[in-house]
Amino acid sequence: MGRKILLEKVDIQGIECFDVWRTNGGYACVEKALGQMKPEEVQAEVIASTLRGRGGAGFPTGQKWLWLDRKSDKPRYLLCNCDESEPGTFKDRYLVEKLPHLLIEGMICSSYALGVNTAYIYVRGEFKYLIGILNKALNEARKNKFLGENILHCGYNLDIHVHSGAGAYICGEETALIESLEGKRGNPRIKPPFPAVKGLYDCPTVVNNVETLAAVSPIIMMGGTEYAKIGTKASAGTKLISACGNINNPGVYEIELGLPVEEFLFDPNYCGGIKNGKKLKAIIAGGSSVPILPAGLILNTGKGEKRLMSYESLSDGGFASGTMLGSGGFIVYDQDQCIVRNTWNLTRFYHHESCGQCSPCREGTSWMEKILWRIENGQGRIKDLDVLVQISKNIEGNTICPLGDAAAWPVASAIRHFRHEFEFHVEHPEIVSKIKHGDIDQYK
């Protein structure tokens, strides 16, 4: 097993309680940051760590913090994005459920570095029980003077509140999250201005993912340069990967970035191989939005090198033969899964979650869903495939937020790598309309 940084203490009995967390070295990073360091020094450590945002885009966290408008006399806000709804991703839920205090201490240090006095945790509406866990943990922290006024007698004030969403994937996009927090529909805003300049209530705002903020705590304890040594050069640190689909051991794993995909998939300490001794067909490596890759291309890159679990290795070859690390939602498909049905399913998801602001996404996802449904049910036409590719091209890059791209990529990549399967559906309607779901290979 690789090195564990975030989930190091996850197996300790009662670790979600403040007392147990504290006796196991919890909140030491708050004492170190607030007691011995200046806010700029905390930020410098995060920059030195080369930590990249763990929510999906992989943007350098330190850079995001640097962009925060510090000249403005308006209050600043830190928002923690716990609106985890990307299909295949369930790592934040696991982290908050098991180690709520890790997130809180990371948020305290980050807020201190950014000069924030009010922070919010935006929890998706479906995770109702997490709201209870977080509020309990926050109350414990308040009681023990790690939140509130004059924390640790350093003259620094901070309070963290929990805000709940109500069922909308789009609110995971940072500007939609801000809109939702302001009590509006989750319609993303046009950028620029970026939230770092005009965010919540038009004030400078930083939005970070749960895992990103949790990683700030170990970064402060071990120092940024030390953290940067873990993993690979372009992908520092560890990452939580949530593995699901047709594998023997689904669950959340912390890996050191740079672990070979093959090892992650077949090692009994991680996924443990494909369920029921079947063969691997395809993998979506970073949550449903990233391109799907067939077995050959996910284990090895287009050049024939071993593919690693890291930002740079997964995206090797661009979208022609690569994908993205994304949010770390690792979905594995065995030989019996139907790619057409799966693509239709995902497109229905994006159609359902499109906020309806931009026409390409609102109309495009709807048409793609209809066409894919038609192909899946044996009523497709061969030119439908080109229409699908055309629609996906028309959505990509033409919308306010990245949901449009996220809806276009799975369709485009499925047709790119599994065109034969789509063609089979079109050419053999009498077979595909008879099978409800499952593999078509056996009928060939």
């Binding site: 839920r93 479906e126 805000h163 994937y169 009590g183 529909r185 689909g245 709807s366 869903e369």
Partner: protein, 199 residues
């Protein structure tokens, strides 16, 4: 064909046909009002509109799991915002019900990671067992069957949510058992009232 026509899924107050206002008077208990004011306190002065989502969760739970026009108007009054600002939010988010659902809402995930692990079969089984289609309520008014998009529990697929609880690694046996237990409960147990407890 899929039921959804060429309209956006995220409703607005026009294509959702806002239900009519009735004579019913909404009286919020002192306890609820206190809770609402506690929520408002979390946001800066003058930004009480931010409390809208949590407050809607709270009152929806209190008033039969759905938001009537009268109730939404009352919320608008408390938060000093226009009624339309409440309607447009209530029609956007999928967790707010504009129509009254059954006593228990069975929300089955049908997105890809669950679907490839048997989620579609679970939906079919529930349809058969309760003798209803997706979106309908059983004749005894106890169960509403809903399919929802990813619940964020893909590693424990197939998954269903009933109130706060996630029921994971579903199979037909687990479903039979759950339906039996829920049928026997006469009152909704207090611990299911999550908004009241958690906010």
């Amino acid at each position: 064909m899929p039921k959804n026509e060429l309209i956006m899924h995220r409703g607005n107050y026009i294509n959702h046909r806002l239900r009519v206002k009735t004579q019913e008077e909404i009286n919020l208990s002192a306890e609820i009002l206190k809770k609402i004011h506690k929520i408002i306190q979390r946001y800066p002065q003058g930004k009480q509109k931010s409390a809208l989502l949590p407050v809607l969760h709270l009152v929806q739970e209190e008033f039969g799991s759905h938001l009537s026009v009268n109730l939404m108007d009352k919320v608008a009054e408390i938060l000093s915002i226009q009624a339309i600002e409440v309607y447009e939010v209530a029609s956007f988010y999928s967790q707010f019900n504009l129509d009254k659902p059954g006593k228990y809402v069975l929300e089955v995930c049908h997105t890809a990671p669950c679907a490839i692990c048997g989620g579609d079969d679970i939906v079919d089984y529930l349809k058969e067992k309760l003798q209803i289609e997706v979106g309908e309520t059983s004749a005894d008014g106890l169960f509403t069957l809903k399919t929802v998009e990813c619940l964020g529990a893909c590693g424990y697929a197939p998954v269903m949510q009933v109130d706060t609880e996630f029921i994971e690694n579903l199979d037909t046996e687990k479903i039979d058992q759950l339906i039996e237990t829920l049928k026997k409960q006469t009152e909704k147990p207090h611990e299911l009232r999550w908004a009241e407890r958690f906010f």
